[in-house]
Symmetry: C2
DNA sequence: ATGAAAGCGCTAACAG
DNA sequence: CTGTTAGCGCTTTCAT
């Protein structure tokens, strides 16, 4: 351990018998300002003393933090458990790290937003945020973020108010949901069950449900539409909620789930109940993740490029850091239908 | 945007007509050093000027960064795609964030380790690392980490050399693999196929394979043992590798996969080939993840508490930060057998 | 091409 | 209780 004292620039300078300034130039790669022998001499001393610059002092002078905060709002402790979120985060952090930025990651519960130390002690040049929670909670989260006066990329939803310090990177969940629903409606179902997530409330999920509902309504041929949350979205909950629904209202002709995990659990519940898919009913997912085709009946779902979304957001943020403002308010990524055998 | 000039401590002091020191005390919550009217007066000025302290200057004086680096070494871009890793990371970051620490997350390829800016520009008080790569690569990674002279928690493997600046938090993969293998050997298989991961090389995986091999050898009743890597571990690769093996050597009596994802893909390949599980052959996984029971044949696998592992590691790190050294060199978390229907 | 001086914004230590 | 002094380690600016 021995945190002792780390080597300072001055110590290196003394060791090499040069001025601190020359060492500073060396450390910052300004080699054109010195002879090659000087460069070598200083290099030796730097290596010999295992010098690494003091981040705080450097920061005080340059006031560029080279660090971006990533905030993921999630109701559960396991804020990285969702494969989709996780891919976005990978895309962001890889892109930023490549450009020399550090990424400060923080998972936060909707109710605890604002008490997080990212707000008390700002140490970032910009922000990437994935919000969740009720509409009011998300609006509150959004306000706090604005007060930071940092360039911010908002993922998966649009800000209430536009601003040249904020950029939204999203997919068009509403329109994708309508597309998927059109596909399902070809089967002319009389009853449709929409299974949403429970604990977590994401703007994207609301958009999907709206899209499905609107498409069904405008089509007009569906008799019964049920929209039901599935507890914390885990398999056991989904199966229980589903079975309960069936015992009350019978088997629906089509089941649309707002994500793939819920869809897989539903497929399992149907299997256990001896209902054949896609003959007797059909099932759809959303946000195709790695295992959407692991079951023998593969999922019909929608896919959008989550990792690329992270990359895109990160790039925009870096550009905004340079230009002082975002060029675009909103960037919409494409979503495509993944044709499985489940619908 | 308008980064303009942020308010300084001195400006607040002038605004409130007090000395900078009093403002500093206020900002740092040392209220016992001032009268309540003074506290209010300063508080008003702080609020009015929207003062937030300069992180660099603060750092320069206090030299406590309040930030911990998390490095995940992974051969692919999607370093957060593995659910197990992801849970560990959640556990670490939640625990640290609660205690007021920031977490700097960085995914790094085995070959690029060391060029990462976490090494060039140390801005952390401690480290949490998940290594992967060949033995030499991991040894090299480990050396670089030691040179940082930071308290470090190493996950999922043991360091070559002990040190009071390093603590290993792991599960006993070797012994768990033997336990699981004993379970499989009850079926008295004549041929056993072990499917390992391909692209990524984790110490934990090597331990598992060793455990399986040793148990099988010491048992002595198995005729043929095949150990085969599965490309990048994705479904398509696994199925292809598996089918290829079968066409050469026929169907094995037991298939042990070093993780659940590979096991699920194998189940699918068997289904497609019309082989019944567990009647005609059996399949096991490892590191039970959320979907180990999503298929109709549920996986027999091993489970260990990944999230808790992250929590434990983070706690130890914080203790080490206070005490100047780790109390324990190694912490081993329990692993339990999850009895599914696949074996 | 190299060096000297000054000061970034804050807080520890001490003085009043 | 409040204020003054000094300096953390670095880099910008200007002089040599």
């Amino acid at each position: 351990m021995s945190q002792l004292k780390r080597t300072t620039l001055r110590q290196v300078a003394d060791h090499a018998n040069v001025s601190p300034m020359t060492v500073s130039n060396f450390v910052n790669g300004r080699f054109e300002l010195m002879t090659s022998e000087m460069r070598e001499k200083v290099g030796r001393s730097v290596k010999a003393l295992n010098y690494r610059r003091n981040y705080g002092a450097h920061l005080l002078r340059t006031s560029k933090l080279w660090s971006i905060g990533i905030i993921v709002v999630d109701a559960s402790d396991h804020y990285l458990s969702d494969g989709y979120t996780t891919q976005i985060v990978s895309g962001i952090s890889n892109t930023l790290n490549e450009k020399g930025f550090s990424t400060l990651l923080q998972g936060v519960k909707p109710s605890e937003f604002g008490t997080s130390n990212m707000f008390r002690n700002v140490q970032t040049d910009g922000m990437c945020v994935l919000l969740s929670g009720s509409d009011e909670q998300r609006a509150h989260q959004f306000d706090l973020i604005r007060e930071l006066h940092q360039p911010t990329v908002l993922f998966l939803e649009e800000p209430d108010e536009a601003s040249d310090a904020i950029c939204a990177v999203m997919q068009n969940d509403y329109s994708a949901a309508r597309t998927l629903t059109q596909h399902v409606l070809k089967r002319q179902p009389n009853s449709v069950l929409i299974l949403t997530s429970g604990e977590n409330e994401w703007a994207a999920v609301n958009q999907r449900v709206s899209g499905m509902r609107d498409e069904i309504r405008s089509n007009g041929s569906v008799g019964d539409l049920y929209i039901i949350p599935t507890g914390d979205g885990r398999q056991r909950d989904v199966i229980q909620v589903f079975d309960e629904h069936v015992s009350k209202h019978g088997h629906p002709d089509a089941i649309m789930c707002i994500n793939d995990e819920i869809a897989l659990a539903t497929l399992k519940a149907l299997k256990q109940a001896g209902v054949n898919v896609p003959e007797q009913t059909c099932v759809t997912g959303f946000n195709a993740f790695g295992l959407h085709d692991i079951t023998d009946v593969t999922l019909t779902t929608m896919r959008s490029p989550a990792y690329e979304m992270g990359q895109t957001g990160a790039h925009e943020l870096l550009r905004a850091l340079e230009d002082g403002r975002f060029e675009q308010e909103t960037i919409v990524m494409p979503i495509e239908l993944v044709n499985g055998t489940s619908a």
